[in-house]
């Protein structure tokens, strides 16, 4: 079988680099071109030093991009929607890793992103990119919009509870702790090492845009409220979501085990991590670095109906490039784990 010819638009960022790392070792993929306007003509390893000797590819300008089977778009927010017609002419299939086509409701988009969408007519064409939720749609899709990292960890953690209507709909509180790579590769005053090191920085206590994705995917036709906060900590990769929900009924932990087993028992990239003893009793982001896993654990408060769900991912993998490759595998009928087998490192 001939290989699928893909190109990456915007490959000099962290997400683009991570995606290239995966694609270079995918047995069914040929990476045709990678673009960067800032590094046109430069070797990949100039920007992604981990890829030295893995490839001698050079970045090209987006103006030089040739037709291919699939384009991965790793552009900053608000770029894909303004150039989507050009990209559609170049490839019959697109996976967009930006936020531009994640939301289906135009009003919600304008509410959360604060500006008009350039191509609202296309919002319905993109499948929302969490494979565990939209696997069958992805198998037939031409356009996929990869999910946000905070949204991915939060949604995967809580989806079985909302789907089974087990939690109060207006009392969910989610706090995520995130690493610095979530902020991208552009330096700013806040990323200057003396300022960034050792921080516990409440960078988005309210109104985080990824909340809109959570509402979209977990509403099931009802009005729900999700109170979401994000805190940047001293970590490069990784994300831990601590989700507080309130159970409608007095379910016990055995019941919750059953709910998660039914939802995720056959999922290749979701693991329930809830041990009664040991060091890693609950999900730990550092063990997931470079992997496509989402680890989920939970603990019921014995003195109330609160259930704490803990969900961890690598934000650049299951929260971005890994999840996009998982979607790619589904689109083309490849085994879902192809190119995503890395089990992580320990100790790390």
């Amino acid at each position: 079988m001939s290989k699928i010819k893909v190109s990456i638009i915007g490959a000099s960022g962290y997400t683009g680099g991570e995606l290239l790392r995966l694609l270079l070792f995918h047995p069914n993929v040929e990476v045709n071109q990678i673009t960067s306007e800032s590094y046109t003509g430069k070797f990949v390893h100039k920007v992604h030093p981990n890829l030295r000797k893995s490839t001698m590819m050079k970045f090209v300008s987006v103006n030089e991009i040739e037709p291919c089977d699939l384009l991965f778009l790793c552009l900053p927010h608000n770029s894909s929607q303004n150039h989507i017609d050009n990209f559609k002419k170049l490839a019959p299939k697109i996976i967009d890793l930006s936020a531009d086509f994640r939301l289906k409701d135009l009003d919600e988009y304008e509410k959360w992103y604060g500006h008009k969408h350039a191509r609202p007519d296309l919002l319905g064409e993109f499948v929302y990119g969490i494979p565990e939720l939209h696997r069958e749609e992805m198998k037939k899709a031409n356009y996929i919009s990869s999910a946000g990292c905070n949204a991915t960890a939060s949604i995967l953690g809580l989806y079985p509870l909302y789907k089974n209507n087990l939690v109060e709909l207006d009392r969910t509180v989610i706090e995520v702790k995130v690493g610095s790579s979530e902020g991208g590769n552009k330096a700013n005053e806040g990323s200057h090492h003396p300022e960034r090191a050792n921080v516990v920085r409440s960078y988005q206590p309210t109104q985080h845009r990824h909340t809109a994705e959570m509402l979209q995917e977990m509403s099931f036709g009802k009005k729900i409220t999700i109170h979401f906060s994000a805190t940047a900590i001293d970590m490069v990769r990784g994300l831990l979501a601590t989700c507080h929900v309130f159970l409608k009924d007095n379910l016990q932990e055995k019941d919750i085990w059953k709910v998660y087993r039914e939802a995720y028992g056959d999922e290749p990239f979701i693991r329930i991590v809830k041990e009664s003893d040991g060091i890693y009793r609950f999900p730990e982001p550092k063990l997931l670095i470079g992997t496509n896993y989402c680890d989920i654990g939970f603990k019921k408060d014995e003195f109330s109906n609160r259930l704490v769900v803990i969900s961890a991912i690598d934000n650049l993998m299951k929260g971005a490039a890994g999840q996009a490759l998982q979607a790619f595998n589904l689109m083309y009928g490849f085994a879902e784990r192809t190119g995503l087998e890395f089990p992580g490192l320990h100790p790390i």
Binding site: E253, K254, W257, K258, I272, E275, S276, D277, G278, R281
Partner: protein
């Protein structure tokens, strides 16, 4: 010989040569379990010392 973990309800397969009093571990929740009886297969949570996490 199948039974159920009393903590997380995972299916537990007892080895053919399992004996009463043997300690096994649940593959899902990691709980240490004691084989109470082999026929019928029955396990219970093994007593454990509380961990000190320095809190």
């Amino acid at each position: 010989m199948k039974t159920e973990c009393p903590v997380c309800s995972a299916q537990i397969e007892l080895a053919k040569d399992a004996v009463q009093g043997e300690l096994i571990e649940c593959s899902d929740c990691g709980t240490e379990l004691e084989v109470v009886t082999v026929n019928p297969p029955k396990v219970q949570e093994a007593p454990q010392e509380e961990e000190d996490w320095g809190e």
